[in-house]
């Protein structure tokens, strides 16, 4: 009789710790005009932002929840606290950050990463940034990396007004509207023309309060001929009530500029992750999405690239690991809106222990996008017989002068591969662990070494289960 390897869930113990909220300021549960007014007042919003929030709330109330994805019936906005401000202000030095918050980020390895391999770090705790810093040599190049709320009141206020929620308008979907109404925190990055930021910037988002939502806004503008690698990380301790993440990322990639946006998402399994990410790429520009989705109870996550300029390019590399109690609906959208644009999508998903993973994509090639090319490859691995994996790719091609290729595969670990590795001296358990971690190498090899190691450790450590 064939024996099966039990593959365990991702080990989240390093993320699953918590501190009591001490003297934090919170708004009431639910979503009302009064709460939105209260958040706006707390933020000292300019008038246009105040009006924008209220208009977004109106739109939120008009729109329906999606009828096509995983169920979000367990998310009741009447029970969600949309704003939690920790009892501190944003600091530029870690030793000025309150101990409990500093310890949280220490345990997550953020200050150490900053010292060793980052050009700047932003750290958000619940609804507010608590730490933001950029290396002097990088800021000397004219690179701006600061809290978006500070930037909104500073010399870049007009730039932010021009770009804020223009790529992701509140009408886009219900949770974009929610974000527009209650957004708080997040980062603003501006890279001047021709500047190449050689080492990455990172923002880390930690949600600590039970039953709360996090709605950070990330706005990145990489000007003509510039280069940036931005890393986003997120985690939360697990609670037995629903938490919500409805952040928004807007990326503007200028002519011949290049932006690599890497995410390792490891929210706890009570999290509804309804995040929206979008990039607009001008002529000759390139956006690269590296996306690892490991956490959350339910995810709707599909970074979109709008290839607006001739020769613009998009690459999406993703891995999704859905374990027990998880329904992760991930993928990407690409709009080819200019001639000679190209896109490349390469994803892997792993389902185990009753987890559900869905790869969902859309490739749209507009009529004017003559000479455009797209290649999509998605592979899914079923690790046991109680899990589920779906692929739902869509292609809409409106010019004959296009070249589109798509391939999808679903299967399990092949007996032949297993036999080959075992005949080389590995146990079945080791063989399966090696195969599954190798399956996700498309993402880890694209990450900076430190992050690749972390991600591989996350997977590899847990793939080494016991024989059932």
């Amino acid at each position: 009789m064939k024996e099966k390897t039990q593959v365990n869930d991702i080990n989240r113990s390093m993320y699953d710790f918590r501190y009591e909220e001490k003297d934090a300021y919170t708004v009431d549960q639910g979503l009302t005009p009064e709460i939105v007014e209260q958040i706006s007042k707390e933020k000292k919003d300019p008038q246009w932002m105040h009006d924008f929030r209220l208009k977004s709330l109106d739109i939120y109330n008009q729109l329906s929840v999606p009828d096509w994805g995983p169920s979000i019936d367990g998310l009741d906005m009447r029970n969600i606290v949309t704003y939690v401000r920790p009892n501190t202000t944003m600091k530029g030095k870690w030793n000025e950050v309150p101990d409990d918050i500093k310890n949280t980020f220490e345990r997550l390895g953020i200050p150490q990463a900053e010292r060793e391999s980052l050009a700047g770090v932003g750290a958000q705790y619940d609804s507010e940034l608590v730490y933001h810093n950029i290396k002097k040599e990088v800021s000397d190049q004219g690179v701006v990396y600061e809290g978006i709320e500070d930037a909104l009141r500073g010399p870049y206020s007009e730039m932010i007004r021009e770009h804020f929620m223009k790529l992701v308008p509140p009408r886009d979907h219900k949770f974009a509207a929610l974000h527009g109404a209650v957004w708080s925190g997040g980062s603003f990055v501006y890279v001047p023309p021709g500047v190449s930021v050689e080492i990455p910037l990172q923002s880390y988002f930690r949600l600590n309060a039970p039953g709360s939502g996090q709605f950070e806004h990330t706005l990145i503008i990489v000007d003509e001929g510039a280069y940036l690698h931005f890393i986003e990380g997120c985690s939360a301790p697990k609670y037995n009530v629903a938490n919500l993440h409805a952040g928004c990322v807007e990326l503007y990639v200028g002519k011949n500029a290049s932006l690599r946006y890497s995410t390792i998402e490891n929210w706890s399994k009570n999290m509804y992750n309804l995040n929206t990410k979008r990039a607009r790429v001008e002529e000759g520009g390139k956006v690269e999405w590296i996306s690892g989705s490991f956490g959350s109870h339910v995810s709707y996550l599909y970074p979109m690239s709008v290839l607006a300029g001739k020769g613009a390019r998009s690459e999406f590399t993703g891995v999704t690991f859905a374990g027990k109690g998880q329904n992760l609906d991930t993928g990407c959208k690409i709009i080819h809106a200019a001639p000679e644009t190209s896109s490349y999508v390469n994803t892997r998903s792993i389902s185990k222990d009753g987890g559900i993973s869905t790869f969902r994509s859309a490739v749209v090639i507009n009529k004017n996008a003559v000479g455009s090319k797209s290649s999509v490859s998605c592979e899914s691995l079923m690790v046991d017989d109680i899990s589920r994996s779906d692929t739902i790719p869509a292609m809409d091609i409106r010019t004959a002068k296009a070249d589109v290729g798509h391939e999808a595969k679903i299967g399990r670990i092949s007996d032949e591969t297993l036999f080959y590795l075992m005949s080389r001296g590995l146990s079945e358990e080791e063989s399966r662990a090696l195969i599954v971690s190798g399956f996700a190498d498309n993402v880890s090899k694209e990450l900076p070494l430190e992050y690749a190691v972390e991600m591989n450790n996350l997977i590899r450590m847990e793939m080494k289960g016991t024989m059932a």
């Binding site: 899990s387 692929t391 869509a394 809409d396 409106r398 296009a402 589109v404």
Partner: protein, 353 residues
């Protein structure tokens, strides 16, 4: 009788973003007046009868329940054809439907391949002028049975056609479907196979040419619930002028269909800049021990191939016409009936530029 219906057809088994407008198709004011006159050539070994309604009322079809409503509203009878158990029918059952100008016809067919039998059905849909028609075909392939359904569509450019298929296979039963869509204005079509018998098999070979302002809306579903089932959906098409085409293909592996395989492939040649091609191929997997694959290639001819053929003296237009014809010929060649192949060739020659 006025049976004008607003219908929603070809709904995807798993929905995606609504803004793509691929989840289903809405058809307004579908009128169905009368039962189409079918000319059937029934060979020995095939039993024919007319029933008040389909014997497979619970069987799902690809286009969905609105086609059932359309049929029910019209009150037409069902033409039922069955092979005899253990008997291989040498000659095909031929069903010809020639539609007249301004018709609004309906047809309902039940095809049953009894246990251990083999049966081939060739259905031809023809019209020289505008009109509309709907055909629903339900089938069942019994234990160890082989059922081949071949459909050739040669309709007028202003003709609206709904062609709905659904059926199931018992243990080791096989359904092989060949569809060649060569003409028609607006065509809504789909086929569903419920592979509920162990080692049952579904194969669909689809060839289509859509030109002018034609519209082709398709939905193919392989629903695999039993062990060791296999599906193979191959679609090959050509779009020209301002044609619109939407291909939906789903392989649905249900829990318990261990050791099953599903493959689907679409190859679309886009000739003119006004065309719209939409493709949404789904693999839904609720079973570990399966293999599912999908591949699609959409676009123009490979530059190397084009260069090679042009260097042999053909101009670009001739190369494209040749390759478009070759795609249809490849599907036509699968039809095990010389008479039908000749008819297809004749139709193609009449309609070639």
């Amino acid at each position: 009788m006025n049976n004008a219906l607003n219908m929603t057809v070809n709904t995807l088994p798993a929905l995606t973003w609504n803004w793509l407008r691929m989840n289903s198709t809405r058809i307004e004011d579908v009128t169905a007046d009368s039962r189409a006159r079918a000319a059937a050539d029934v060979p020995a070994g095939i039993d024919e009868e007319t029933t008040e309604s389909t014997r497979y009322a619970g069987q799902k079809t690809a286009m969905g329940s609105d086609v059932d409503r359309l049929i029910a509203l019209s009150g037409i009878c069902t033409s039922s054809y069955s092979s005899q158990a253990g008997r291989k029918s040498e000659a095909p059952l031929r069903i010809d439907l020639s539609y007249e100008k301004d018709c609004h016809d309906l047809s309902s067919f039940d095809i049953t391949a009894a246990d251990d039998s083999e049966m081939t059905v060739i259905m031809k849909f023809k019209s020289e002028e505008n009109g509309s028609a709907a055909v629903q075909t339900r089938y069942h392939a019994g234990r160890n049975a082989l059922l081949k359904i071949i459909q050739v569509q040669m309709l007028d450019d202003d003709f609206t056609f709904l062609n709905d298929i659904g059926g199931s296979c018992d243990e080791n039963g096989r359904i092989e479907l060949i569809q060649l869509i060569l003409g028609g204005g607006k065509t809504y079509t789909g086929a569903r196979a419920d592979l509920s018998g162990d080692s049952s098999f579904f194969k669909a070979d689809i060839g289509y040419v859509v030109g002018g302002s034609g519209r082709l809306d398709m939905n193919y579903i392989s629903d695999q619930t039993a062990r060791k089932t296999e599906s193979l959906i191959n679609a090959s098409g050509v779009l020209r002028d301002q044609a619109f085409k939407l291909f939906r293909g789903t392989i649905d592996f249900h829990k318990g269909c261990a050791a099953s395989v599903g493959n689907e492939k679409e190859d679309v040649l886009l000739i003119d800049d006004g065309v719209v091609n939409q493709t949404v191929p789904l693999i839904l997997c609720d079973e570990e021990d399966v293999v599912g694959n999908h591949g699609a290639t959409i676009g123009q001819l490979d530059e190397d191939l084009l260069f090679y053929l042009r260097s042999r003296g053909l101009n670009e237009e001739e190369v494209y016409e040749m390759m478009a014809r070759a795609r249809m010929d490849a599907v036509s060649a699968l039809i095990p009936d010389e008479k039908t192949r000749d008819e297809i060739r004749s139709y193609q020659n009449r309609h070639s530029n």
